[in-house]
């Protein structure tokens, strides 16, 4: 960050290639891994199913899609800023998604 102006940077779309382990995700969110495990247990974060129907109990084999990063960060912000507990965060996220969906339909259907 020494230079203010720099040449053109290219990056990829994170969500399209990233597959994250629980440790990677917790590092990217700068939280303890137990917090990520709690988000999974609460159903806020979904893991990629390696074998359909097989429940992976061991968190170290979990894999998350790249979209989990933004979702986890939003959950963290809501929890911290509004002091709501995990079930509350899960509910808020679901309602926010529903709201987003309705807003989109409203615009498209007009």
């Amino acid at each position: 960050m020494e230079s203010d102006q720099q040449g053109s940077l290219s990056g990829e779309i994170f969500e399209e290639y990233a597959v994250l382990s629980v440790d990677e995700l917790s590092r990217l969110c700068a939280v303890d891994r137990t917090y990520i495990v709690e988000l999974v247990e609460e159903g806020v974060l979904n893991i990629v199913e390696l074998d359909a129907g097989v429940v992976q109990v061991d968190a170290s084999v979990w894999r998350f899609p790249g979209s989990a990063l933004r979702r986890a960060r939003t959950a963290l912000r809501l929890q911290r800023d509004l002091e709501i507990n995990l079930p509350g965060v899960a509910l808020a996220l679901e309602l926010l998604e529903e709201l987003e969906e309705l807003r989109r339909e409203l615009k498209v259907g007009r």
Partner: protein, 315 residues
């Protein structure tokens, strides 16, 4: 410097109890939380609110703040009195991004234990890897449709040589990946905080949202356009010019179209291995009956067409 009326920000009386202040904060925080609110200035309001609460929830800071009295009228220039803060001890400020007003009273939060603007951005085990930075940008739809360079200015909080927290503008030229959608993230490797000579820099994550487009609405990878057509174009069919992301095209309106008829141009939405579609939704535009000739034409139509548009309503 602008004087900030923290009581007004929180909408509480100057003699509000701690419980009332907490309640007001909770209520407004839910309303203006940037993840919840769609209001344009939500982020700024939320920040201002956090700052006001930081002062009013702490008996020491509140008492010190109250000493200022009403201050000058809001918006007027403000300078802290010379004996400001004597006898009060401030510690444990929690947020980096305070206003100048706040910092002139309570100081920029010291380096230790301070969280960055988003709180949990603080990296861990910092020696070998700099912390990741996160930013949010508004992108024009065209950037996603065609890809290409865009310039963004990000505000980056930094600690300067005197240990003060300053905000620095950082200009970034980014090649926007073609086909990126709202809610997705561009990751720029090693563009986060540096980690000193030894380590690797953190990454910069740029969350993308779209600016509203003048013509098109976005739904996933699909785009929607409302296209006005004349009644006779809809009824008799026509070929009309329509804008599309790839440029204007001649679009065939089928005979017997009506308001709401949806025409699909396959694969002309947002690009991807399976690109989105482009939908044209017809709207019937009526010519104004502004002169005698137009009125005569409408009367002729009324005479010629036995038509009850309310037949389905049973009247």
């Amino acid at each position: 410097m602008e004087f900030k009326d923290y009581y007004k920000v929180m909408g509480v009386a100057r003699d509000a109890t701690e419980a009332q202040i907490k309640q007001a904060y909770r209520k407004l925080a839910r309303k203006y939380h940037p993840d919840v609110s769609k209001e344009k200035d939500a982020e700024a309001r939320f920040k201002e609110l956090g700052e006001a609460y930081e002062v009013l929830k702490s008996p020491e800071k509140r008492a010190a703040y109250d000493q200022l009295g009403q201050g000058p009228r809001p918006g007027e220039n403000f300078t802290p009195p010379p004996d400001w803060g004597a006898g009060f001890e401030f510690s444990g400020a929690g947020n980096a991004d305070y206003s100048d007003f706040f910092e002139s009273l309570f100081g920029a939060a010291g380096g230790r234990g301070r969280r960055s603007q988003r709180g949990f951005d603080t990296g861990r085990g910092g020696a070998e890897r700099g912390q990741d930075h996160h930013a949010k940008i508004m992108l024009d739809l065209e950037a996603s449709l065609h890809g290409g360079p865009r310039t963004f200015t990000l505000r980056v909080p930094e600690i300067d040589a005197q240990g003060r927290l300053v905000s620095k503008d950082r200009v970034l030229n980014v090649q926007v990946p073609k086909g990126i959608l709202p809610g997705q993230t561009i990751r720029l490797a090693a563009q986060g905080a540096s980690a000193g000579a030894e380590g690797t820099a953190g990454d910069l994550f740029i969350e993308v949202e779209f600016q509203p487009h003048a013509l098109y609405r976005v739904d996933g990878r699909d785009l929607y356009l409302e296209l006005p057509v004349a009644p006779w174009e809809a009824a008799l069919g026509a070929t009309v010019k329509t804008p599309t992301p790839g440029g204007a095209v001649d679009l065939k309106i089928p005979v017997g179209s009506h308001a709401g008829t949806k025409l699909r141009l396959k694969g002309r939405g947002i690009p991807a291995s399976t690109p989105g579609d482009f939908y044209v939704v017809l709207q019937i535009a009526l010519p104004a009956a502004s002169d005698e000739q137009a009125k005569a034409a409408y009367r002729a139509m009324a005479d010629a067409l036995p038509f009850n548009p309310r037949a389905s309503l049973g009247v």
